[in-house]
């Protein structure tokens, strides 16, 4: 069933078009990888899906009962977090906030959910540690746990493995694949075409200004764009 539909989407900054006339559908349970060069507009597209950016034209329509409260987000790391005094537990719990409304404190169910998600991502032993003193891989897991607290239906991940070592990268991919098997729709931005092709069910390849390819992984590997970028490494 369609969960998100992008229709003739055009995005840009102050008159400069970054993405033009893009249309695609994301179905419930899909694992969509968005690939493309630096500056091709992948993050911009994701911000539009999250309603952090208004499209120049076209629209993004949620369906299948999707509301902003069902969307989890793993952002590209921002500078402000680097010296922020926050414990791991505080960060993960903040994901529950969209359910609180005007209630000032987290309730028991929300606290439990934070603990469960820390367990699930293997960061429970770090709960009392300071977020900024942990390794890149651990930080990404923590942000993923926070994203899971925010939503169970769809996860948007912006370069979740950027800056991680090979072991942490492999672990991260496994984790995301497992979450997808549990029924969460994944939309992930990645530089790593080979890994994207290995795990994803669908690929969106953004080129300069327009989509080079939208469709299933199998079709992507047969397409011109796929053959050039995925190369031999992708065809496992």
């Amino acid at each position: 069933m369609p969960q998100l539909t992008c229709q003739n989407l055009t995005l840009g900054y102050e008159g400069k078009t970054v993405v033009s006339d893009l249309s695609f559908v994301v179905n419930t349970g899909d694992y969509l990888c968005i690939v493309g060069e630096n500056g091709s507009g992948k993050s911009t597209l994701m911000r539009a899906i999250l309603k952090l950016k208004t499209p120049t034209s076209g629209q993004i329509v949620p369906s299948d009962g999707l509301t902003p409260n069902d969307i989890g987000y793993l952002p590209q790391q921002t500078v402000i977090q680097k010296d922020f005094p926050a414990s791991v537990r505080e960060v993960v719990r903040s994901g529950c906030l969209n359910r609180c409304g005007l209630r000032p404190m987290y309730n028991r169910a929300e606290k439990q959910m934070a603990e469960d998600n820390m367990q699930k991502l293997g960061v429970a032993p770090l709960a009392r540690r300071c977020y900024r003193e942990l390794s890149g891989g651990q930080q990404q897991r923590i942000l993923l746990a926070r994203a899971l607290c925010a939503a169970q239906k769809i996860l948007l991940l912006d370069e979740p493995v950027a800056g991680l070592d090979p072991k942490a990268t492999a672990d991260m991919y496994e984790l995301i694949a497992k979450l997808n098997k549990d029924g969460i729709t994944i939309i992930m931005i990645s530089h790593d075409v080979a890994a994207s092709v290995k795990f994803a069910s669908h690929i969106l390849h953004i080129g300069r200004q327009s989509a080079l390819f939208v469709g299933t992984k199998e079709d992507y590997l047969k397409s011109d764009a796929g053959r050039v970028y995925a190369g031999a490494g992708g065809e496992k």
Binding site: L50, I80, P104, C130
Partner: protein, 287 residues
Amino acid sequence: MTEIADKFVLYFQYPFVQYALIVGVLIALCSSLLGVTLVLKRFSFIGDGLSHVAFGAMAIAAAMNLTNNFLLVLPVTIICAILLLRTGQNAKIKGDAAIAMISVGTLAIGYLIMNVFSKSSNLAGDVCTTLFGSTSILTLTMTEVWLCVILSVLVIGVFLLFYHKIFAVTFDEDFSTATGVKAKVYNLILAVVIAVVIVLAMNLVGALLISALVIFPALSAMRVFKSFKAVTVCSLIVSVVCAALGLLISIIAGTPVGSTIVAVDIAGFFIFSMAGFITTKGLMRRG
């Protein structure tokens, strides 16, 4: 030693000393609550900018012969706070430049107005007290004390009510907005509360020294503690202790109130920096 103790006991019997302590402690409490967020949002100088706005507004109020200048100063400062926090991300003039512009501009115009319209014979003295705080904290009326108590309770209430939201919005505004938290609303609330605190704190330390009152306790706490809750609680305690200590010293030694409090805050910062240095070194040695 007993001499000083006797002096304490004697001073404490004066209502004006009691009022000054109550008001001083409340203001220190409020400003420390917001300090952590302001430092983390890279808005350390907003306190400075807003206090200059408040100074300009005060000059206008004085020129207009308003009896209660709060009525003009508070709304003007709140409006400027909202404008400054709103320009944060995508303005043509970047955050720090906007703050510098408003802060220097209002300072100059405030002084100009004071100079042209003031009927006071001691202009330099008036300006000096508004900028560096005055002994006016020792001449508070009951109305002023109550106004301060009510505003402080409001500030503390808002902070407690929105504590988790303030944390989330400060830590990661994009994530909050994306997952359906109304970050814009909370930023607005934050701006209003900051303005209220600034106007309150002007009474205590004066326009030029407010930033110190807001920033030092937060920075001290961040040297040692690593979670948002611990940092908030610690900076609150540091701020209150420093303000009370500074007030007492200034009363007994006859030094200017504002600068004495700030001096104690600076001393606190050095102590916490040392403590932080020692604990992190200790941790490293343990592995």
